[in-house]
Structure formats: structure tokens, C-alpha cells
């Protein structure tokens, strides 16, 4: 299967490890991975902060870059939800843009969706001998309705002990530019999330969005807790031979 990787601008710039993990995981599962080099950003930050014109421009660019692929995989629930849920609202019904969105948006999958629904695997042959807790990020949970797909994948990882996170469904407080515009509320939400993570005794906090992990991980780091944060892709890419290339 010919799969295009939509790395997302945040992962491309700050978390290339996650991208390398997706490539290695998908190849291990027999996919032919392509990286359309013209890709940049889905436009979520601009649209959600109130800069629709810039966001629409980025959305148009996205639909042009990813037209023609069987499947597009994104290691981000939030960016996948942006394309699938919000793109249709950015275009005029019946316009060329609407046709392009209707063509591309349904082919965009968050990683765990792609593995479970398209490739129909839940055991990806991973090995990760650690105590892990999972935070279902808001756009994965309430936007894409990922349900138990990510935890089904984690449960099949050899050596991994999955512990449930108290109040898992509560937002961590990142919210994109919300973290900067409402820093006090954002930090208070992050502190409560971090405390719940610590209560699990997990060594690793896992999620399907690095932006949320950057916020929770940054809070856990500032508190010197020693808890690591890892994207789902990095855990699923790990094997007895080692982790992400």
C-alpha cells in the first residue's frame, strides 16, 4: 500500500523522532511510505486562533500536496481531526475547494486508526518493557472518536504494562495558543494532569499528540518528576532490536 506520511509541522520541527518511528513501523508492516516534500502545516493554529485567511491558504496547500494518495497517515490526532472535521467548514459548498476536501479528507488517518482500521492489525510486533499510562488527547477522543484503538495497540506490546490514567478524558490544558493566551488556567490544568500521571506510578506517559505531550512533559520536567513522555508511534516502533532509528 502506498502511504503518504503527513508529519505535521510540530513533529517535523521539534519531534523528528516520532516521524522516524512512523516510517520504521509502517515499513515493518509492509507499507511503502512516501514523504511529499512540499507539505508544511494543516493550518490548525491559524484557524483556531482566528486567522482564517492564512488557515484556508494552508488547507488549500494541504489538499494539493496530498491529492492522489491511497492513504495519508498523520502521527497527530489533532491535525488529522483538523483535516477531517474542520476543512469541510472552511470551503463553500459546491466550490472547487469543497471537491478537493471531499476527495482528500476521508483518506487522512491518525496513526492508530490507520493501523487498526486500514491495516487491520493490533499486534504490531513491538517490545517495550516499561510501565506506561496513556492520555487520550481531546481531539483523538472527542474529535476522531479513536476509542480504544490506541490502548488495544499498546496492550499487545510485549513487556509493556499499561496502567490506566485517572480522569484520563480531561483536557491537559494545552489547547494550542490557549496555552499562551490563558497561561494560568492552562498551567493549572497541566498541573492536575501531571499529578494524575504521577499517581499511576508510570515511567512513561504516552499519547497520540506531541503537542499535548510537550505541555504535560514540560510540566513533568519542570517538576523534576523523572516521568518520560513518548509518542505512541515511538513505543510501537520499538522492538527487541531497539527503538526508533
Amino acid at each position: 500500500m502506498r502511504v503518504a506520511l503527513f508529519i505535521t509541522c510540530v513533529n517535523d520541527t521539534l519531534f523528528p523522532r516520532t516521524g522516524r518511528a512512523v516510517v520504521s513501523l509502517l515499513r515493518r508492516l509492509g507499507c511503502e511510505v512516501e514523504f511529499p516534500a512540499a507539505q508544511t502545516c494543516c493550518g490548525q493554529m491559524h484557524v483556531n486562533t482566528g486567522y482564517r485567511a492564512e488557515g484556508v491558504r494552508l488547507a488549500r496547500h494541504f489538499t494539493e500536496v496530498f491529492a492522489g494518495y491511497d492513504a495519508v497517515v498523520a502521527p497527530s490526532g489533532s491535525c488529522a481531526a483538523m483535516v477531517r472535521e474542520q476543512y469541510p467548514r472552511l470551503v463553500r459548498p459546491g466550490s472547487r475547494g469543497a471537491v478537493a476536501v471531499a476527495e482528500v479528507a476521508p483518506k487522512v488517518h491518525e496513526l492508530s486508526e490507520f493501523l487498526v482500521d486500514v491495516l487491520e492489525v493490533d499486534d504490531v510486533g513491538a517490545y517495550f518493557p516499561h510501565r506506561v499510562t496513556y492520555h487520550p488527547t481531546c481531539h483523538s477522543l472527542r474529535g476522531l472518536h479513536l476509542g480504544d484503538r490506541p490502548t488495544r495497540l499498546l496492550e499487545k506490546v510485549r513487556g509493556l504494562e499499561l496502567v490506566s490514567l485517572p480522569a484520563a478524558q480531561e483536557c491537559c490544558g494545552f489547547g494550542g495558543t490557549f496555552a499562551l493566551k490563558n497561561p494560568d488556567v492552562s498551567a493549572a490544568m497541566g498541573a492536575d494532569k501531571a499529578r494524575n500521571v504521577l499517581d499511576t506510578g508510570a515511567e512513561v506517559l504516552c499519547a497520540a499528540d506531541n503537542s499535548c505531550l510537550m505541555h504535560i512533559g514540560g510540566t513533568l520536567g519542570r517538576q523534576k518528576t523523572g516521568v518520560r513522555v513518548m509518542h505512541l508511534a515511538e513505543i510501537l516502533a520499538s522492538t527487541e532490536e531497539g527503538g526508533t532509528p
Binding site: 508529519i7 516534500a37 483556531n48 486562533t49 478524558q169 499562551l180 492552562s186 490544568m189 512533559g217 514540560g218
Partner: protein, 461 residues
């Protein structure tokens, strides 16, 4: 006299920052919202057809709003036919003028009130006071707010920010007839308020209420409440004046079947509402006036995305699940409508001219919990994002977003920016200056990697 929200200074982030630092307030809010949240989830979970009910509620409200003009005229005809009087108020000032005139015509200088969001929205109590008329709130929590010269901070439980020790203090210092030995036991507090209010119910000749629903077909008004104070106000006085937003309509009597299931389960977490009062026109010996309030609602109706906010039945489920409301409290929103619904309703009803109102669409992490629990499926995040596009933006932010957009428009520019960041990776301080300090005050920065993904792909992919 409770204070009015209009013209409140500050903006949401600053108001919220104050609330976040108040540990007693955070404890009160957390405990209260989590309790109601749990009760709601339990009783909603009992109904196998909840999603169908929710879809029906949405559909009925949408159909009503689409034909609002027709239904309003039908309602007017039915109310007049049943002996009531109907008044139309374009805005708050007109509604207040009408109510004050009606009260003055009775010769009375006191009114008792049933808890009503519409009359708070228009600042009726303050307007009546200016005319020499005293309005007494009779809902227990509204009474606490009024006696404490305070602001409501929740739609359903307006004194949610107060604990029982504070309530005892307010009663002892501000309430006529409070027993000197009053304890902070909930039963003792309720009994003191009950005796105080009973005297008012029996004395007052005029009552002011709102309504949860108005039935166009029959001209019936419906009030849902939990304390029985509403029933007292609606039935005892000689004159009843109801101020109701024009969006509170339902086409037909049978539509209540849906909403009398949706509302109690969503708001108080009860299967059935304790006191549901319904009346059609003027009851025997009572003069009834209905004041239909626009106050910005027709403008909201004209907005294709924002109009869904008019489906709201004021249940507060969105407040009780909102992680931002839980930490910021209701006062931070500077409006009688706090929480997620307030963040989309207030800027639409009042506009976004003030710093506070312009900050409200941003008072959300867009987590979507509000949409999930809304009994009439208002997509609050969708409206928030739409309002953000209409909100005024600061110059520095505009410049920053324009530059970010310019870089992201083109892969080569993005790659150059990434490589520049990589070269600076050793130089990034632990604490950033300016607006970015909002991040580094409480969070570590992620380490900038040795190379962006696209460079690795080009070399090894």
C-alpha cells in the same frame, strides 16, 4: 442589591488568573462541578435513547428558530386569547421600562422574583431600584447572591462559589429575621431562608419570572425549579410579569415530552424535575403580562454558525464539564452567562467591543467536552472558532501570525526556518522573554532536535 456585570473591567485571562490563585474557590468549584457532573452522567447513562432525544431536541429547536416569526405571532395570539397581555421589547432598556411601568401601575413598590436568566441579562433589579421598586430574589442561591451584594457565578447554582460558612455569615449580617444562633448546617440555613421568604411571598402583590419554555400552540408558559419558591411567586401575587427571551419557544405541547427529559437530567442530574409549573394566560384573579425579549437575539439568529447558541435551554451541563470553568470560576466571564455557553453567547449578544468580551471566545482549550454533553447538540467549539475569526486581534499577534503563515506557506522557507532553529539549539534559554514567558514560567521547553524530520528523510528516508 446584586451588582451588575455590565462594564466590568479586565479580560478573561486576568480574571481567571486571580481565580486560579484562590485555593478555596478552586476547591469549592471542583467539588461542586464534579458532583453534578457525576450525577448527570449517571442519569443520562440510564436512557438508551439519549442520543435520539438529543437529536430530537436539536431538531425541534432548529425548526422553531427557522420559523420563529410565525411561532411568536401564534404565541401572542394564544396568550391574549387566554386573557394575558403581550409586550414586545427590542432591548434591555425597553424591557426594563415596560416592567417598571407595569409595576408602577399596580401602585406597589416591591416585587418577588423567580430565578430568571433573562431578567439578570437585562439588569432588571437595578433598573427597578432606580424607579424606587425593590426586587426580592426568592431562589435560595439567588437570595445568597443578592444579600451578599455579589455576582452569580453559575447558571443553575449561582452561589456555587460560596461555601456554607460564608452563607451563614451573609445570612447573619444581611438577612432580616435570621436567628442569632444560626449554624452552618444546610438544613438550618435553608430553614432560616424559608422563614424569611415565606413572609415575602405572603406580602407581595407583584411577581416577576422568566420561563424555561413557551408553547406557541397553546400560549402556555413553563417554569422548572427545585425549591417551590417559583410556584409561590407564580400563584400568590395578583400580578405576574414574565420576561422571556424570544428563543424560548416550542411549537407544540407534545414537544415538552422531549425537553422535560433533556433538561432535568442535564442540569440537576435528576430524572424528573421537582416543581414544574405551567400556566396559560391569566389565571383567575391574576393579571398576567408576558414581555418578549429580543436584546440581540435576532442578530444571533442571522448568523449562520452562531445561531445554534439560541438552541440553549440553560441547563449548565457545559459549565459542569468544562475544565476551564472549573478553574476560572463564573465571575471571570463577566456575564450572567458563564462557562462555554457564555463564551459563545455573551460576545454574540453584547458584541466584542470591550477587552473582556473580545477575550471570551478564547476562554477555551477547544477540548470539546461541552459539545459532548450539550442536550441540544450545540457545537460550542465550532462557534468559538468562528467568533475568533471575527474578534479583534492585537497588532503584535497579527504580525506574528502573518510571519508564521508566510513561513508555512512554502516548504523551502519552512526548511530554512527549521535549520536556523537547529543552529540556535544550544542558545535557547530556560526562560523565554515577552509573551513566550507564559510557556516557560511553568513548563520546560522541548529540546530543539539536531535536524528536522525533512532533512533526515532527504538523507536516509
Amino acid at each position: 442589591m446584586s451588582a451588575t456585570f455590565l462594564g466590568m473591567p479586565g479580560d478573561f485571562p486576568k480574571n481567571a488568573a486571580r481565580a486560579v490563585r484562590d485555593s478555596q474557590l478552586r476547591y469549592n468549584l471542583r467539588k461542586a462541578t464534579h458532583t453534578i457532573r457525576g450525577k448527570r452522567a449517571a442519569v443520562v447513562g440510564e436512557l438508551p435513547d439519549w442520543q435520539e432525544l438529543r437529536a430530537a431536541g436539536k431538531a425541534i429547536k432548529d425548526e422553531t428558530l427557522r420559523n420563529l416569526d410565525r411561532y411568536l405571532l401564534r404565541l401572542e395570539e394564544a396568550v391574549i386569547g387566554a386573557g394575558g397581555h403581550v409586550h414586545w421589547a427590542r432591548d434591555a432598556a425597553e424591557a426594563n421600562r415596560i416592567v417598571a411601568g407595569l409595576v408602577r401601575a399596580t401602585g406597589e413598590t416591591e416585587v418577588v422574583k423567580v430565578k430568571s436568566m433573562a431578567t439578570q441579562e437585562i439588569g432588571l433589579n437595578e433598573a427597578l431600584a432606580a424607579e424606587g421598586i425593590t426586587a426580592y430574589e426568592t431562589d435560595l442561591a439567588e437570595l445568597i447572591v443578592q444579600l451578599g451584594d455579589d455576582f452569580p457565578s453559575h447558571i443553575l447554582v449561582p452561589a456555587i462559589h460560596r461555601n456554607r460558612a460564608e452563607i451563614r455569615e451573609i445570612f447573619l449580617t444581611r438577612m432580616d429575621g435570621a436567628p442569632p444562633g444560626l449554624t452552618d448546617e444546610p438544613a438550618a440555613l435553608a430553614e432560616a431562608a424559608r422563614l424569611h421568604l415565606r413572609e415575602r411571598f405572603l406580602r407581595s402583590k407583584v411577581a416577576v419570572s422568566g420561563a424555561n419554555f413557551m408553547i406557541a400552540e397553546t400560549g402556555t408558559l413553563v417554569v422548572l425549579e427545585s425549591e417551590g419558591n417559583g410556584r409561590m411567586c407564580l400563584t400568590l401575587p395578583e400580578t405576574l410579569i414574565s420576561v422571556v427571551g424570544i428563543e424560548k419557544l416550542l411549537p407544540a405541547w407534545r414537544d415538552l415530552e422531549v425537553f422535560l427529559q433533556l433538561l432535568p437530567r442535564s442540569s440537576t442530574g435528576e430524572r424528573m424535575n421537582p416543581y414544574t409549573s405551567m400556566w396559560t394566560g391569566a389565571a383567575e384573579g391574576q393579571d398576567f403580562h408576558l414581555v418578549l425579549l429580543d436584546n440581540g437575539r435576532t442578530d444571533v439568529l442571522a448568523d449562520e454558525v452562531g445561531r445554534q447558541a439560541l438552541r440553549c435551554i440553560r441547563c449548565s451541563a457545559c459549565l459542569n464539564v468544562c475544565p476551564v470553568y472549573e478553574r476560572a470560576g463564573g465571575h471571570a466571564y463577566g456575564s450572567v452567562y458563564p462557562g462555554p455557553i457564555g463564551a459563545i453567547l455573551t460576545p454574540q449578544l453584547r458584541g466584542m467591543e470591550t477587552e473582556l468580551d473580545a477575550s471570551l471566545p478564547y476562554a477555551s482549550s477547544l477540548c470539546g467536552a461541552c459539545y459532548e454533553v450539550c442536550p441540544v447538540a450545540i457545537d460550542i467549539p465550532e462557534v468559538l472558532v468562528d467568533l475568533r475569526a471575527k474578534a479583534p486581534h492585537g497588532m503584535a499577534e497579527r504580525a506574528g501570525m502573518r510571519v508564521a503563515g508566510w513561513i508555512l506557506d512554502d516548504q523551502a522557507r519552512l526548511a530554512r526556518a527549521q535549520r536556523a532553529a537547529t543552529r540556535l539549539r544550544g542558545l535557547v534559554p530556560r526562560r523565554l522573554p515577552g509573551p513566550l514567558s507564559a510557556w516557560t514560567d511553568t513548563r520546560d521547553l522541548p529540546e530543539i532536535p539536531e535536524e528536522p524530520f525533512r532533512d533526515w528523510w532527504e538523507r536516509e528516508g
